[in-house]
Each structure stands twice: as C-alpha cells, then as structure tokens.
Symmetry: C2
Subunit: 392 residues, 2 copies
C-alpha cells in the first residue's frame, strides 16, 4: 500500500508542475478587455446606479449567450435564487428539495421565503443530485394531493426542486426534468457556478422554470457582485423585473408600488464590468479547459487521486477543478490542504454539508451517504482562467 | 384671491430664474474627484468583489465622517435597514413604528423580517414623525409587559421605532429618544437621505441603536448601489458584519456558517467609487446649500408656496429641496408637476403614503392627517449638487 506521505507529495509536485512556484489563488478574475472603457463610459454618462444602458445591454448579452429568452440582472446570485423561488410561488412552510452538498446561499434563499430546505443526496458521476435515489425517496415519502406534492412525514407541500451545478458540471438533467414533472415540482437550476456550461448543447439554467447565475468575484466572469435570473417565460421575466425594482408602477412622477418587493437591481456600474467580461467568456472557457488538460496530464500517473472530468453529454466550464481522493486516502485530505495552502497554492475542500450547520440541523433530509463521501474526498485546486495565460 | 394659473407661472418662472432653460434632473451624481483613479486601482488589484481594501477604507472613512464608532457597508439602503432591524431582534409578528410618509423601502424591510409596519403621522415643522401625537397614541394603545411594549389592540409586541429623515432634515431627535426610552423601543434611524446632516453637531444615524445610509444613484453621494449601517455598539457592529457576509466562520479553507444570513456585503468596486465620492461630500453640501439659498431668493416673493427650510437645531444636507404649497393651492400640485416636467425640469410629489399601497393597506396606523396634508402639498424640485457649479 502507498505511503500517505507519498500521496501528499505526489499531489504537491503535480500541482507545482502545472502552476510553477508562484502563488495561485483558487479563482481570481481576469480584466483584459473593455472593462476600463465601459466603466469610464458609465461614469461619464452619470448613470452608475439602477438605471442605465449597461444593465439592459448586459441582460440582452446574457440572454443571447445562454439562449434564454430573458435575463434579469440582480445584485448577486443569492438575490437571484430568492427571486426565482418567489417566481415559483414558494411560500412560508413549503419545502424545497436541494442538495446537501452546495454553497450555503442555496439553502439561505429558501429560508428567506420562510420555507424549509429539504436536503437530498449527491453522487460521484456528476457531483449533482442522485436522481434515482431521490426518485425512490420521493416515491416513499410523498403523495400528490390535487396536483401538489405533499411530504407525508411533515405534512408540508414540496414546491420546488433546486439542483445546483457543482463546479460548473451539469448533473442528470433528463432525470431531474422527469422527476420535476412526475412529482409536480417547479425546477429551478442554481447555475451560479455554471456560466458557459452546456448539456446537449443547451446552456445551464435554461432547462427548468428558471435558472440563476452568479458573477461574484470568484466566478468565471465577475461584475464585482452580481447575479441574474434566466427564464423563457415572458410572464416570469416581467415579474422578476418588477419585484427586483421595488414593484414600482410606471409613472412620470408618482411613487406607487403594488406588492412587497426588493431592491435587487444590478447597478449600471457593475453591469458595465459585466458587459466587458462577457465579451471575453469564450476565451476564459478555452483557458480553463486548457488548464484542465494540463492538470489531467500532471495527475495521470498519480495513484490515489483522480481529477474530476465533466460528465458525459455535457460540456463544463470547469469553474473549479476538483481532485477526488480514493476512499482510503480521505484521511490525507487535510494534510494536502495544509501543505498546498502553506505554499501559497490555494486549495479547499467542498463546503460543509448543509445539515451540519446549526441553523439547518433540524431540516428534513434523505440519507446522505453520497454527499458525505464526496465532502470527505474532494479537494478544489487553483482554477483561474489566467493561470496558463502565458502558455496559450 | 390669487389665480391658480398665476401660482403655476410663478413657480415655473422662479425655477427658471435659478436653473436657466436647460433640463435639470431631480438629483444626479457628480464625479469630479478620484472616482476614476480609485476604480482603476481596484481593477488593477483584481479585487473588485466582496473582499478588498476599498470596502474597509470606505467603512473607516464613513465612521470618521459621521462620528459613528462603526460603519458596515452593504449593497444598498434597503439591505442596511433589513440588517438594522435584525440587530434590534425584530422578529415575525412584531410591530415596528415608522412614518406613513416615507419611501417604500422602510416598510419593505420590516416585512422582510416577517414583522408588521405600524404607520405613524408626520408634521410640517420637520417633515418627520409627529412626536407629541405619537406619544399620546402610544399612551392610549400600548402597555408595558416585563419591559416590552405591547399593542393592546393587536396583542403584538412593538419592538422598534424607525423614523426616516425626510429629504435630509432631522426631525425631533430629543423627542424620539425620549419616546424610545419611555416605551422601551429600539430606535433605528433611517438616514438614507441624510448623509451630511446633523443635529446639535451630531451626525444623522448616530442617535439610536443604529442608523442606516443609502448611496443609491440619486443620493448626495453614490456608490452605484450601496448602503451602510452605523452603530456605536461593538457587538452590533460585529454582528452586522457577520450576517452581511453569510455568517461564515473564519477558517483558512473551511466553508462553515453558523446562522441564516445574507450576501449583503458591498463590492470593492462600488466602495472604490464611494471613497472618491466621500472625499467630495463637503463640497457637495456647500453647493446644495448655495442652491437652497438661490431658491430661497427666487421664491421669496412668490405667494402660495414656501421653500422648506431646515428645522432649528439641525443642519440639513438639503438632499431634496421641497416646496410646500399652501392648502388652498394643493389642487394645483399636479398642474405644476406636469408643467415643470414637460419643460425638462424634473419635479415630483412625495411618495404615495404607505397605507395607500395594497400590500400595506391592512397594517395598523394612527390617524394620519399630517402625512396626508404633506403628501398633497409637497413638490420636490431639482436638487443636484452640480446645478450651480458654474456659480460657485
């Protein structure tokens, strides 16, 4: 059997062979296009806030890029999720199904609606929801009442299914669509990590009722802080715009609003950055794919650890590159994290599972052995588009 | 008696005498300082998002400027209100007292907590809460139970008092503090409009448990979108920082969070703009005061309408200049609005009162004759700091 110290050394030397000796962030942005001139144009126009040409342009550019009929730009991915749940009429005391293996925003957004996150398992093939096991679980614990899915154990309505495309990889989309259809759930894709990822040629976030994107600083493109809701439904798009702009009714001077709503509109300043970033997205994706190839080569002969490869049928943006340790080396995870981070090579494990946080400890859940195993064995490694810039 | 058409003409010609024939926005920003170089520095540093030097600097600059011990920068003024209510432990089914005469964000933020806005009246001297009438009202409808203020009519706890400093004018601060103390209410100042305003030399937003600011594009300074929470309490400041950054626990690589929280942190890009704007605030305030003086002169001899003047004891930022029509000319308000806007001179009435919107129609309220009279008689006129730039 391999020496644990050898696994650590192998991972380190493979990383160094790709990245060189200089420090590397986990994911940092790259500003090499029109960022500068668009922001200057924005300042010169005096429109930096919730009204302005760049917000509309960014929304149009996003729709064109993703193929969604509509995109609505908001302050961040969390706000986008909150709005998407609102569009699906998720209300207090409803339940929403989402992976235990996700960033906390997915579950927080459900809480903002007064609804209850219901955690489901993930699997190794896609890092996404384990659809066959979820189907068995729902068959056991739910029944349809007048076309509404009711959790027999809690008595609550399960309103929506909210998969998250982990590290940009699209999960079992066909399985999720069938599940949503059979159990009468609104399908909302948390595509925060998946801008540029497709499945069967179709962009992430366009399969369900709506999808959400994030443009946080650590994402494939950034607007400083930002997010968007994608949908093909004109009524939902119009509602999304309305409730993200305080539900103000159009009028030359009156300030009248017709429902409780949010100040979630993306500022024009941030959209200007977004327009410039989006122009470079294809280049970023090519760089990230090249980085994946370099890692694949470097880790080819390292036993005990595998570089995660996009699932069949999809094309991933490879937002975060991930190593998956073999079970017997899971206990070396923290040693590898410590060794790499101490050298300035930023690495991290996946997020703490949702049910392991105090505020979600009492939420309903299915058996989560897949998510647990993944959380013990995943290590994310430096993934910025700019890392191999010189090499391209 | 004066001819209604004469009032309209007098207002128009007075406005034109100050503003000239060119169009004038109600309030637009002025970028004449280091905006450009700070944003360039921000892009060059690659830190545009939720981490970065400008966010910390903007918070320090705000604290220094306002005299608050702590400032926490967030995505907008609405988020700041939501957080401030959270700090005051406002919870579902509590009531919060706030003026019916305010922008909808004040009431929306209360709803985000699941709490119920309770609308109170405003008065002509300060455009703020009518403190003596509110005291009488609370004496009648509330009683203290174990140091908690209970609304005898609804059975709900009244947790907080949330005055809003209309157009930047500080209301009866001493009266509000006494009221909060006597009725055991947390005092939160919605100072969204009041950056640069003081009362007895002390800055708006620093009198109660916490105060909130807004840096929306139409405010005295702007960050594109942005806001801040001010407080003198170290524990509240630390909690504000924690819940605006997803309640993540500090760790080199772990993602663990300990409560339901928000993605409300101001991006570094927006803070860079804010740092440059704050450097110019004193100049903006001087320009706005000069504009007030020019309007005062122009409207001095116009009968039927008065230019609102800062209440005694305070120094206002004169965020929005306001005309108050005499009661008999209230019916001319919309004619004046139409005539001025059609000339490109942007004017507007005050916001639709909160209880007149469908989603707040059933909220508890005191008798609101002051707010109603104000809403019929106020007209805001062009107020940008840049309007008299040539003249200074």
């Amino acid at each position: 059997m391999k020496d644990p110290a050898k696994v650590v050394n192998d991972v380190l030397s493979s990383l160094l062979s790709v990245l060189g000796e200089k420090p590397a962030a986990l994911h940092e942005p790259c500003f090499a296009g029109n960022e500068w001139s668009y922001i200057k144009e924005c300042l010169d126009s005096n429109f930096v806030s919730s009204v302005g040409n760049f917000v509309n342009r960014f929304e149009n550019d996003l729709a064109a890029y993703t193929g969604a009929r509509y995109a609505v730009a908001v302050v961040n991915g969390t706000a986008a999720l909150h709005v998407a749940l609102n569009l699906a009429k998720v209300q207090a005391q409803d339940e929403v199904l989402l992976p235990a293996l996700t960033f906390v925003a997915t579950a927080n957004a459900v809480s903002y609606c007064g609804a209850v996150p219901h955690f489901v398992d993930s699997e190794f093939g896609t890092l996404g929801i384990d659809v066959p096991r979820l189907r068995d679980y729902l068959t056991t614990i739910t029944e349809l009442h007048d076309g509404v899915c009711v959790n027999k154990q809690t008595g609550r309505v399960i309103r929506a299914l909210l998969p998250m495309h982990t590290f940009g990889h699209l999960g079992d989309i066909d399985g999720l669509l069938a599940l949503a259809n059979d159990f009468k759930l609104a399908l909302i894709e948390d595509a925060a990590e998946a801008l540029g990822s497709t499945y069967c040629g179709r962009h992430a976030g366009t399969f369900g009722q709506s999808g959400t994107l994030s443009f946080n600083g650590n994402k494939t493109i950034t607007t400083g802080g930002g997010g968007a809701i994608l949908t093909n439904d004109p009524e939902l798009a119009s509602k999304a715009k309305h409730i993200t702009t305080t539900a103000k009714l159009p009028h030359a001077w009156e300030y009248r609003h017709d429902q409780i709503a949010y100040n979630y509109r993306m500022p024009n300043l941030n959209a200007a950055l977004g327009c410039a970033q989006l122009e470079q997205l294809d280049g970023f994706l090519a760089s990230k794919r090249a980085l994946h190839k370099a890692y694949a080569q470097a880790f080819e002969d390292v036993s005990g650890v595998e570089l995660f490869v996009e699932p069949p049928g999809g094309k991933s943006n490879y937002w975060l590159q991930a190593l998956v340790l073999q079970p017997k080396w899971a206990s070396s995870r923290d040693v590898i994290l410590a060794a790499t981070n101490s050298l300035g090579l930023m690495t991290r494990p996946v997020w703490t599972l949702m049910q392991d946080m105090p505020h979600f400890a009492c939420c309903p859940r299915m058996e989560l052995s897949g998510a647990l195993a993944l959380s013990e064995r995943i290590i994310n490694i430096p993934s910025s588009a700019g890392l191999l810039r010189e090499a391209l």
